[in-house]
Amino acid sequence: MALKDTVSRAYSNWMAGSGPENDIVISSRIRVARNMSHFAFPHMLSLEKAEEVIHALTLALENKDLKFSSGHLEVSRMSELSPVERQILVEKHLISPDLLKGHEKKAIALRDDEVLSIMVNEEDHLRVQSLLPGLQLESAWDQVNRLDDELEKTLDYAFSERLGYLSACPTNVGTGLRASVMVHLPGLVHTDQIKGVLNTVSKIGLTVRGLYGEGTEAAGNLFQISNQVTLGHSENEIIQNIVSVTKQLQEREKTARKALYNERRSQLEDRIGRSYGILKYARILSTDEAMKRFSDLRLGIDLNIITDTKPELVTELMVLTRPAFLVSKAGSDMTVFERDVKRAELVRNKLKVK
């Protein structure tokens, strides 16, 4: 079964090191919310009705035209997976944590390459999404849009001429579109510019969030930028807005990196070298420390200070060293301490100099 493969490895195609502008933009995601008319929204559905929704989608996915344009998406019920396997799908960013709540009503349709997927009976009946490496919001939208077109030929969507696609939560109504990019901004963080930059971004209709972290610093210096509003603008406008903001962020980040490299070269190389050393030889690694060191390592690779490790390996490690993955590799009853030991071991093995 394809899904079992998915949960057995940390690597996913969105981590590829070859995406455009990949040194700063790690990945791009497009997601649209769709609901079927004739069914209540998922939180109101009985188990039987929820099953009917899953069944309707399964049939729609078997359509020849759909398979021709979007490929084969395999439907799996969340109840077929163990709790750890479900958590792994979250850690790989393939499903949202919401899909874990009341999992007996829920399912995921996933294409083998893990780029295209549909969450079924999350907050809405369908959340069609595409996840690609680098800055590729347009191609991600292209994939989602094509699949959506084909689905709509057989499924009756809840749609209003005035309000657009109807969603369970009014914050998603209209296009139902959420576009987001994950960006790595160590330069802006280390030059103390991040707060101002992110403040500006949040003032122009975009949401910025740090991913874990202490204070205003996100662990791993990773940030997610997405649109706040789904109604009133076309999909293209929403996407172009994020693309142009992301490009500006990229320029700022590049300038900051250049400044660090030119003006504080020794300190920069020292920090990166120390982090690389710790990752290679430490015996105990907490999540927080690991994320911080990964960020330094990634920056070192981007700046050609470190040349014997590939960038996609760092992204993979970020996922591989999350709690559920560790549990799946080493068995459940682990204390936090044992987990930190296991994490260090995994990282050591992955970074072993050949």
């Binding site: 109101m44 850690e91 944590p97 969507y157 005035r162 874990y212 109604l231």
Partner: protein, 173 residues
């Protein structure tokens, strides 16, 4: 420190999430933490708007008038969800709810999105009529912008296009 969720075990996992510069901290024991994946890292914007929405709704209707609508027991005829329940959960029950609760939802949607008009994708199956109406709306918007920018040549072209589409709309009947 005790876990904030169960208040029984020692907190072992500490999450900090920063959304638009606002910091939110959580201290949880391991078992509660494993249930609660912090939303941020999932790379999906899932800000919990629901409580926020409930608050907005309350404001919107005002406490006095809200009790009034509640005693009227306004519910969606299709799914049975009451307006009170919507205010509590922040989630609608079905597509028809948008019609059933139109009087409060219209202003709520406007407060969230700044508009009530969808300008995005239309289902391929939606009627030609709807497509034409949307096209006219979009052309009118462009016309307004052209006039503001004093691009009169473009404005004239747009005016012609609007007339054409309107004619097609009439023929559709």
């Amino acid at each position: 420190m005790l876990c904030e969720k169960c208040h029984q075990n020692e907190a072992a996992v500490h999450f900090t999430e920063v959304i638009n510069g606002k910091k939110k901290e959580m201290h949880l024991c391991e078992s509660c933490a494993s249930e609660l994946q912090p939303e941020g890292f999932s790379f999906m914007p899932q800000i919990n708007f629901h409580n926020f929405l409930g608050g907005l709704m309350g404001h919107n209707v005002g406490p006095g008038s809200f009790t009034k609508t509640a005693t009227k027991d306004l519910s969606c005829e299709v799914c049975g969800l009451s307006e009170k329940e919507f205010a509590r959960r922040g989630l609608l029950g079905c597509g028809e709810c948008y019609e059933s609760f139109k009087h409060t939802l219209d202003s709520l949607v406007k407060r969230i999105h700044g508009t009530n008009e969808h300008n995005g994708k239309l289902p391929e199956r939606s009627s030609d009529r709807v497509k034409l109406i949307k096209e006219i709306e979009s052309l009118r918007n462009q016309l307004r912008q052209a006039v503001e920018a004093e691009e009169f040549e473009r404005a004239a072209q747009l005016r012609d296009s609007i007339r054409d589409v309107e004619k097609r709309l009439e023929q559709e009947g």
